[in-house]
């Protein structure tokens, strides 16, 4: 039996305003432990909204999320700050680092939030991660002094520092040039392989998506395709992504 770390059932999300905007409809999906999953879809398909719901940043309107055994309903999402801190890492399209802090300090912020001044071994761990992803020289630089690729590496290091169960990435390469984008993706793939961190990534780039183990395609707030890249092979997967027909029928 597959080891599922994250599972949704009948997940709905509606933005309420002058006009209510339903975004996600009865989504059922599963993320396997240690897998690298891509969420793709045209803009407006709801993939970022789904990621934010899965990352417990945005409460769903209805339905349930089973986060590694913890059941999260629409009501309790706001009380999950501590849970997010301990179990979830985020990488966003824009780096979302704090300009008041250096690269090294930014990486350690989740530890501060978790338990105050980090222990010396946590500091060494941060340095080890920085070295591993090639940003050890940027330790004392402030965020504004870094390039886009460097900033994204710092935010990856920050996402890793509390050893989360899951890392959510929203267009992590979207703001980078091709070369730094590839480097960041290589790094993510490597971390996924080596550390067995589960990754869920939103992207609109087909080539980026093909580096994942599994692909969910969203169209108009519904899951339209689920592709197992290893099983199908990259060529077949690429062809499947290109196809306009949905592989999962409406129930």
């Amino acid at each position: 039996m597959a080891d599922v770390i994250l599972k949704t059932s009948k997940l709905n999300k509606t933005y309420f305003g002058k006009v209510d905007t339903p975004v996600l409809f009865d989504l059922d999906l599963q993320i396997l432990r240690g897998s690298f999953t891509a969420l793709i879809g045209p803009s407006g398909s709801g993939k970022s909204t789904l990621l934010n719901c899965l990352g417990l940043l945005d409460p769903q309107t209805s339905g349930e999320i089973d986060f590694d055994g913890r059941l999260i309903s629409a009501q309790n999402v706001n009380d999950l700050a501590g849970f997010r801190n301990a179990h979830i890492g985020f990488i966003f399209q824009f780096h979302y680092l704090l300009p008041e802090y250096t690269a090294y300090e930014n990486i350690l912020l989740p530890c501060w939030i978790r338990g105050g001044r980090p222990a010396p071994e946590t500091g060494r761990e941060a340095l080890r991660i920085m070295e591993h992803i090639g940003i050890e020289k940027l330790k004392n630089k402030y965020i504004a002094e870094l390039s886009g690729g460097q900033q994204q590496r710092v935010s990856i290091a920050r996402a890793l520092i509390n050893r989360p169960k899951l890392i959510f990435a929203d267009e992590p390469t979207g703001n980078l040039d091709r070369e730094s984008g590839h480097a960041v993706l290589d790094l993510m793939a490597e971390l996924n392989r080596e550390n067995n961190v589960t990754m869920v990534m939103v992207t609109h780039d087909r080539d980026v998506a093909l580096r994942a183990d599994y692909i969910y395609e969203l169209v108009d707030g519904r899951i339209c395709k689920f592709l197992d890249v290893k099983k199908m092979g990259k060529t077949a997967t690429a062809a499947a992504i290109e196809s306009r027909t949905c592989l999962i029928e409406e129930p």
């Binding site: 700050a81 501590g82 979302y96 939030i113 001044r117």
Partner: protein, 402 residues
Amino acid sequence: MKGKKNRYEWMIALRFLIKGKGQTLLIVLGIAVGVAVQFFLASLIGGLQISLIGNTVGSSPHIRILPADRIAKALSSSKTPSDSGRVLYDERTEIYSWQQYVHDLKKDPRILHAAPAANGSGFIERGVSLIPVFVKGLSDADGLAIYKIKDKIVAGIPELVSDSALLGKSIADRLTLAIGDKFYLRNDRGDQVFLRVGGIFDLGAAAGNELVVMSMDRVRSFFTIEGVSVIEVQVADVFRAEKIAREYGRRYERVKIESWQEKNRELLTALRSQSSSSITIQFFVIISISLGIASVLAIAAVQKQRQLGILKAMGTTNRSASKIFVIQGFLLGSAGSLLGMAFGLLLAYGFISGTEVTFGLEINARTLLTPIILALLASVIASTIPARRAAKLSPIEVIRNG
């Protein structure tokens, strides 16, 4: 464990303030000016009041115990004990049992000095003129201490020797009497005594400087006073004189008791309205400080919205988010009030040395701490506005809107 956990909010608050140098400096200066003005005002007005009160009552009795000027009831019933335990005399025009009163009063720790005095009116003959004077007979230690004769003496020796008198500065000037000069003092019956000027004092007040001071026994015998004319009392806290006087008024039935407050109602009213106008000014200074802090922190909360959203995504709770702002308010208030204290002291000493004031500033724990505590309170209360905003902010608002 919990204490350790709480520390990161301080770390973040401090970093936000340090990185927002200009804004931080501006608000700290704002608070500092407010605190300085408050401190300066309070110590100036305090000093002025203390000097006013000192001039008015510093070198005079605060409470006077006088003969009742009427027949006391107690005489009709021999069983009623007197004020001091024994029925002795009717204290109608003089106080006969003054020793008991003084003994009783001196037991009260709130009372600094209690001394009998004998008063008389006489004339000093000088050439062809006969000048009426008020003669006061004082006891050696406490009597002189009440009038602070030792400090106020401008010439001669502050001693009550039997053939000499101490003269107030005005009367000595008027009679052109100097130390060692001799003069005749006459009483209303025409008796006269030959006296030497032993000293001249300046009490700073017109009435005091018209006095002729002699030893009490001399005055008693010269004016044929059997008891004493008054018992004069000086208390440690001048503002409690009235209360103490009222207390003794209930206990002593045969005598009349007056406090300085009863005789200086107008001064007291003036002091009180001065205090209340100073409090009004301080109140509005506090309001304006609070508004300043609230608005700067509110702007900071909007500016730091992105950072707050990120922190919340990483696990900062609503409570911690608002704490970050309250801590900022506290830090701003602390820095501002310390700087303000320095400004205030500079301002105060500059004022003292730059203008010809005759009074010192009243710098004590109250004038120092009140503005600091008020500024801190105002800062913390003002910071709750952005703090509430920070608590309400949802991380997704920031993440979704980039």
